[in-house]
Structures are given as C-alpha cells and as structure tokens.
C-alpha cells in the first residue's frame, strides 16, 4: 500500500531531495523542485502535519531562513515507499 502523503508528485520530490541531506532551506527546495512558493509551502505543511518533515524558522544574518529536514519517521516512510515501488515494478515486469 503506497503512502498517499509521499505519493503525491510534488511531495515525493521534496521528500526524495531531503532524504539525501542533513537539512536544506526553502530556497533550495524552490530551486530544485521548480514549484511555486505557495505550492511548496502547502506541500511542506502537509508533510509537517504527517510528522515527516521538521520545519525551523531562523535568520541568516538579517534575512529570514526556513530550514527543513526529514524526521526519523519521514526517512522510514520514504524508505518503505521506495521499497514498495521497487517491489511493485518488479512484480509487474
């Protein structure tokens, strides 16, 4: 059974990018996903609600910065999602 929170294409991109890093900021995800600000914020809120992403608002000098990282539950959910997809694709092949 695929995790519906992660399966949405925009959220899948976000979780995949965050899985490879310790943390990243909002601007990095904006650049890599090519989503607009509103859509990205909405996806992040959904992921935070599911407990998969931790959002920290801070400052870099005087500029506000939003730092994002996957929680342990988020990493586990993503690993399980990848495993499910690979199994489904192997079964279909």
């Amino acid at each position: 059974m695929l995790d519906r929170v992660i399966h949405e294409p925009g959220r899948l991109m976000i979780v995949a990018l965050l899985s490879a890093v310790e943390e990243a900021d909002f601007l990095y995800l904006l650049h890599e996903t090519a989503l607009n600000k509103g859509t990205l914020s909405s996806h992040l809120a959904r992921l935070e609600e599911a407990g998969y992403v931790e959002i920290t608002k801070t400052y870099r000098g005087k500029v506000p910065q939003t730092l994002l990282k996957l929680t342990r539950a988020g990493r586990k959910a993503f690993d399980q999602y990848r495993k499910t997809v690979k199994e489904a694709l192997s079964a279909g092949a």
């Binding site: 990243a24 909002f26 990095y28 506000p64």
Partner: protein, 209 residues
C-alpha cells in the same frame, strides 16, 4: 519511476559545485602553489624565499585563504540564489568513500609504475602525466560532466600539461609551466561555471519564504 526518485536523491551531490566555486578555488590553490614554487626557484640564493619553511608557510596561507573564501562566497553568492544545503554523511557513505579512495590510490600507484617502467622517457614527464590524469579524474567527479564543453576542459587538463612539458622551453618553464597550466585550466573552467550560474540565477528578494 524508481529512476526519477533516484535522480532526485542524487541531486544534492551535484549541487556542491553548481556555482563553480570548487573548480575556481582549486585553480587558485594550484596556481598559487605553482607560482610559489616558481618564485622559490628564481629567487636569489640566500634569500628567505629559498627556505622550505617560507614556502610551507605561504602554501598553508594560500590553503586557508581558499577554505575561508569558499565559505564566504557560498554565503554571499550561492545561498542567496539557489539556497543552502547541508549534506548527510552516513556511516555506509563514509566507508564507501574510504574504500573508493584506497582503490584509487592502488590504481594510481600501478599506473605510475607502468608509465615509469615502460612508457615515458623521463620521470618528470611521468609525474606530470600522472598528476594531469589525477586532476582530470577529480574534475570529472567534481563537475559530473554536466555540460558538453566540460569534455573540452577535461581533454585539455589531461593532455596539455604533458605536451607543454615536452616542448623545448628551457628548464625553468618546462618544469613549472605544466603545473601552472593545470591550475589555470581549473580556474578558467570555474570562472565559466560561475558566470553561467550567476546569469541563470538572480538573487531572490529577501524574505522569499
């Protein structure tokens, strides 16, 4: 679909040199150290520049300036344009790097031995060919060869220094110019990458989040 997911997982690794700063600063380091060596060679005998300690202190200073500049430039250039990333180092990832490095050292020694024993006429040429190949490998790994023009740079990096070493330029230039050329090639490549990056990625307004 699995391929697309893998692609996104690998993207942060490619992000490290998105701005060309690593290439640029390797170029500064190699050229700086090369010029120090040349300067030490041409300095009058008895001069303070002939001492090993002077060279080592200056080379260390170049190294620390490069490391400091990298952090400062990332903060002022990259993070304002395309964002900040802190890479993740898992235990498995670190062991993979160590294993890869050990294999690379073994291959490098084997190649050096073969070149020295069987292929090239002088040990100086062997060292230049070997360091050019090594820097070529580092360049390919650093840049992921993400554009067609990088192949031109790669070929120049591997071929040009040994060719220059074989030219009849006189002892001083044939000894030091190949190493300076390695640094200059990295520097120019980094400058091109940085220029393209700055053109494609303007600074976003403050408080974008």
């Amino acid at each position: 679909m699995a391929d697309q997911i893998d692609d996104y997982v690998k993207r942060p690794m490619r992000y490290q040199n998105i701005d060309g700063l690593d290439e640029l600063l390797i170029g500064v380091l190699l050229t700086g150290v090369g010029l120090l060596q040349l300067f030490r060679e041409i300095a009058p005998s008895g001069s303070i520049w002939k001492h090993n300690a002077t060279f080592e202190v200056c080379a260390a200073a170049v190294f620390f300036i490069v490391v400091y500049d990298r952090k400062a430039l990332k903060k002022r250039v990259t993070y304002l344009r395309t964002g900040y990333v802190k890479c993740r180092h898992t235990r498995k990832g670190v062991w993979r790097i160590v294993a890869g490095a050990l294999m690379a050292i073994a291959v490098a020694f084997a190649t050096f031995f073969v070149l020295y024993r069987f292929a090239l006429p002088s040990s100086k040429l062997v060292v230049i060919a070997w360091t050019s190949a090594l820097w070529g490998l580092i360049y390919a790994m650093l840049t992921w060869m993400d554009a067609a023009w990088r192949w031109v740079v790669l070929v120049a990096l591997i071929v040009a220094p040994p060719v220059v070493a074989m030219l009849p330029l006189g002892h001083l230039w044939s000894d030091y110019l190949p190493y300076l050329l390695q640094g200059l090639i990295f520097f120019v490549s980094g400058a091109v990458t940085l220029t393209l990056y700055l053109r494609r990625n303007p600074v976003l307004e403050q408080g974008v989040e």
